[in-house]
Subunit: 295 residues, 2 copies
Amino acid sequence: MSEHDYAPIISYLGPEASFTHVAAKELFGQVGLSAKPTIPDCVEAVSSGRATYAVVPLENALEGSVPLTIDYMFNEHDLFINAELSIPIQQHLMVNQAQANALDSIESIHSHPHALAQCHKYLLYQYRGVPLIQSTSTAAAAKYVSENPDKKIAAIGNQLACEKYNLHMAEENIHDFHFNHTRFVVLSQKKGKLEKHGHTEIPKTTLMVKLPKDDRPGVLHQVLSVFSWRKLNLTKIESRPLKTGLGNYFFIIDVLEDEEAPLMKGALEELKALDCSVRSFGTYYSYEQRPTRPN
Amino acid sequence: MSEHDYAPIISYLGPEASFTHVAAKELFGQVGLSAKPTIPDCVEAVSSGRATYAVVPLENALEGSVPLTIDYMFNEHDLFINAELSIPIQQHLMVNQAQANALDSIESIHSHPHALAQCHKYLLYQYRGVPLIQSTSTAAAAKYVSENPDKKIAAIGNQLACEKYNLHMAEENIHDFHFNHTRFVVLSQKKGKLEKHGHTEIPKTTLMVKLPKDDRPGVLHQVLSVFSWRKLNLTKIESRPLKTGLGNYFFIIDVLEDEEAPLMKGALEELKALDCSVRSFGTYYSYEQRPTRPN
């Protein structure tokens, strides 16, 4: 609980110094943040009222399984998206301060399997043959390095973990793909746009559309016509299996328009007329964190 | 290396007894399987010729980050899909044989964070308050339980891990969502259909389509028309960000047709005429493992 009685509680996918923690801090500051071990725990904290917001990874995530977020949003709870934040994936190599001069003799490198994979080429060229040890999170790897000053080991993780565990930054930005982002969403029980400085000008609406039972070829094409002739711009479309058996799908569609705009209202009406079932996760703004250079 | 000099080497996302191992065994049997620590390691084993096939998770995965598979397939290597296998996600609670009669006094439950999340409701109802300890894989949790017969601990994982580490099956099928599948693909350097008993009758082709630079609203609609008027059935469509900056997308489209069929050839030609860049990952069969009851 924060020192302000009225500050909201924000549950996020932990542990502390995870990439989701970076996202939560960027949007909400330091106060009221509460780390949870899994995505369902984050979501449930909000639906039970113990937290006002949940921050969870939605796309291209490092530490969470993205289908998990979608499954829990779709199947379990009536939650809405209040904001999204896109942060660049920046992975750094860090060692204990006591080992700052021993970078040539690193004996093992620790991190979450996804982070190790994201730095695959760097590790192949710079540390070929050095054993890679998997940890449960990038933050756990940083913590382990901080607790073992005598070991010649390194961790891969983000800048927040480097600061929190007071490590020496050995090499910055060792990830293979630049321009790679992770997209986080803020969920709550209420529709509404979380307003902060620096958001995009055009709000976005996320829809889940279930096609009519009669799933003939071309029905998706018909659904997209609804948006196309209104010149509504889609920034994402993804088919996801329904959990009712193989071959049944729903679609997640992001539209660059407010759901209250007349064209959108028309589109939603028309989808229903086509016998689609449509659920809106609300309209929200997108925020974007720019790459930072540590120190 | 296998005992047969000519048997192919199959790299899969490890460790042993992972869900990907289950998939690899189902398709290739026991011989020639080689566990790799990350998805890029699996892919690189094939593109360097050290392995003939790679088995990696593609969708709704437990132990791998799915965007990683797509990123490495799209950006890095000229690989093709030779088969896909869908296996049901079945999570079980298992304890050391020495603790088979002490299920009421379990003091902690160990597993990969995704597996813990997939059994969220079961754990909430049956083991509320029991600490959940994260491990790097479901197999690592099972191994830990097998090595600590005196501890009152349990692991969550698949049947293969239960067998490999000779654990006692305490409760079967404790996952929250039934009908949940993970989709694995077999990659190789050559196009071709891996033929085994029990595949689907209709082959599937996976395409990656990059829209023309002129990314006006409705261009995706135009792309889908290409398939729609030919009555080609799409089983998946997903937009993925290109790694060249925000707002640039490509599409992954699965079509239920052989790429050599006349209608498909026409569709691919027409996509190119629309100024799309199209890459085919080849045509392959889908296999499906049915849920099994352990023992």
